[in-house]
């Protein structure tokens, strides 16, 4: 075993661009290339190019692949049409969230194939859980983490940039859909997904082609304001868009209902007699969330300029009423923002008297509904 961080296929590209690198889930990843605020704003107004090769791809194939995923995950995966994708979660028997996932259905009914994309930090956990849960199913779970590099092009100019490099019909490619395509002369799975709140694409491709496609996208985007973007702005983009991040808003201590994401749990699914891992606990969690929610996930907007950070306490009347899970200065709002779990009594948008304890001083914050930012369509 070595503790040396893993390098993506684009490592030398990042270094030649002068990126500030950071260790993320055991990978050496670009944090930012220049100003993270400029990178953030480029994605909101033009386009940004990300290396997301740390994400964990797991392929599930075989006649019972859909039944296995319906058993192992909380979503109704059997109902996902070929070429479409779903946001879903994998939970423990006690309902605690192991990870949030995107599942792409690649193969048609006669040769089922799904790609499960896990967070880098949880990829091994998800792989182990899927492998264990596959027992008794005529399905194969394959670790494909090394089989793919992942690039993302995000922002209002993304479609024009990607379209200039492919014959694929992007106008017909819906949000949360993916298709095999040739991009810059290279085979790729081209998906209309992202984690920024903007229109955009994710390209799964063989690592040996990553530099070719990165270069082609950089060139195609040069007249359209595309800039390389690091994980720092990815975090502020997803925070503005109200998207949860595992380890912050999501954890094994919480069920999807606690996180306000109960809609991903599909009790109505009929495969495997309706049974799936975590069902009993999740039914109770759904009831609890309805009748007596312990805490709710809310947005907070600062009235001042000091920035709330994960772990800071949310206070009202001198009492602790919650905890910040993610916080950052929002480039789009021009103010610090945060996501926080707060007691239900203080969770209504507009609740007065809520503050965040920022290193001993109680700074006033406005409680708002998520997301902070929604793009105009």
């Amino acid at each position: 075993m070595t503790n040396a961080p893993r390098l993506t296929a684009l490592d030398s590209v990042h270094r030649s661009l002068g990126a500030t690198m950071t260790d993320f889930a055991g990978w050496d990843m670009p944090l930012r290339y220049a100003s993270e605020r400029d990178e953030h704003n480029a994605v909101r107004t033009k386009a940004g190019l990300f290396d997301l090769s740390h994400m964990g791809e797991i392929t599930v194939t075989g006649p019972a692949a859909a039944d296995l995923l319906d058993h192992a995950l909380v979503g109704n995966i059997g109902k996902v049409a070929a070429g479409r994708a779903r946001y879903t979660m994998i939970c423990r028997e006690d309902g605690g969230i192991l990870d949030d996932l995107i599942v792409y259905r690649l193969g048609e009914a006669e040769s089922p194939e799904f790609m499960v994309v896990a967070n880098a930090s949880n990829a091994q956990t998800v792989l182990d859980a899927l492998t264990a849960r596959a027992e008794g199913f005529d399905a194969e779970v394959r670790d494909d983490r090394d089989a793919y590099a992942l690039l993302a092009v995000q922002g209002p100019e993304a479609a024009a940039i990607v379209q200039s490099l492919t014959d694929a019909d992007l106008a017909g490619l819906k949000y949360y859909a993916g298709l095999p395509a040739t991009v810059a002369g290279v085979p790729a799975l081209l998906a209309r997904t992202g984690y920024t709140g903007e229109d955009g694409f994710e390209l799964f491709l063989a690592p040996e082609h990553a530099e070719t496609v990165w270069s082609a996208l950089t060139e195609a985007g040069s007249g359209r304001g595309l800039v390389p973007c690091g994980l720092s702005c990815r975090d502020t983009l997803r925070l503005e868009a109200g998207m949860p991040l595992y380890g912050h808003e999501l954890s094994t201590d919480l069920t999807p209902f606690d996180a306000g994401l109960g809609r991903v749990v599909k009790f109505e699914k009929t495969s495997n007699g309706g049974a799936f891992v975590g069902r009993a606990a999740l039914e109770k969690a759904a009831e609890r969330a309805e009748s007596a929610p312990p805490r709710k996930l809310v947005g907070l907007i600062a009235e001042g300029r000091r920035v709330p950070r994960a772990g800071y306490q949310v206070v009202a009347d001198g009492k602790v009423i919650g905890e910040v899970t993610s916080g950052a200065p929002s480039p789009t709002l021009g103010k610090p923002i945060a996501m926080a779990y707060v007691d239900a009594a203080h969770a209504e948008p507009g609740t007065a008297g809520v503050g965040v304890d920022i290193r001993g001083s109680h700074e006033p914050y406005e409680v708002v509904a998520l997301p902070f930012y929604k793009r105009e369509k």
Binding site: T20, L31, E36, R37, S232, R305, R306, V307, P329, R359
Partner: protein, 125 residues
């Protein structure tokens, strides 16, 4: 990047100008500004405050983190740069010039500060 020869430097990455009429200017280095990333909030000591060499006297917040500001010198604050309070990005764009932080009437000659060459070796940039 180059660290100006005429300044002296602390190991907490602040710089201190030579005194003019007993008053020195304090800022953070370009190395520190680059390490922080985009600075979004600056809290400075107020005019009249006494600052002590090696002790915290304010804070700098960037997108990813918050860092204490240490005074490289002991003395009385005679000016704070309102421009960086209003536009913290100045710390990134001009750390040795328009992004200065505060001015101190120095009480004593500071010890243990580094020359430009020593700081360049210490910080690696």
């Amino acid at each position: 990047m180059s660290n100006p020869q005429e300044l002296r430097y602390s190991k907490e990455h602040e710089w201190l100008s030579a005194a003019t009429d007993g008053v020195s200017t304090v800022g953070i280095t370009e190395h520190a500004a680059n390490a922080l990333g985009d600075v979004v909030y600056v809290q400075l000591p107020e005019v009249g405050d006494t600052v002590t060499a090696g002790e915290t006297c304010g804070e700098l917040e960037s997108t990813k983190s918050v860092s204490d500001l240490y005074s490289p010198v002991t003395g009385e604050v005679v000016a704070a740069n309102q421009d960086v309070v209003d536009d913290p990005a100045l710390v990134n764009s001009a750390p040795f010039e328009g992004g200065w932080l505060f001015k101190v009437r120095t009480a004593e000659e500071p010890a243990d500060l580094l020359s430009a060459a020593e700081y360049t070796e210490f910080s690696g940039s």
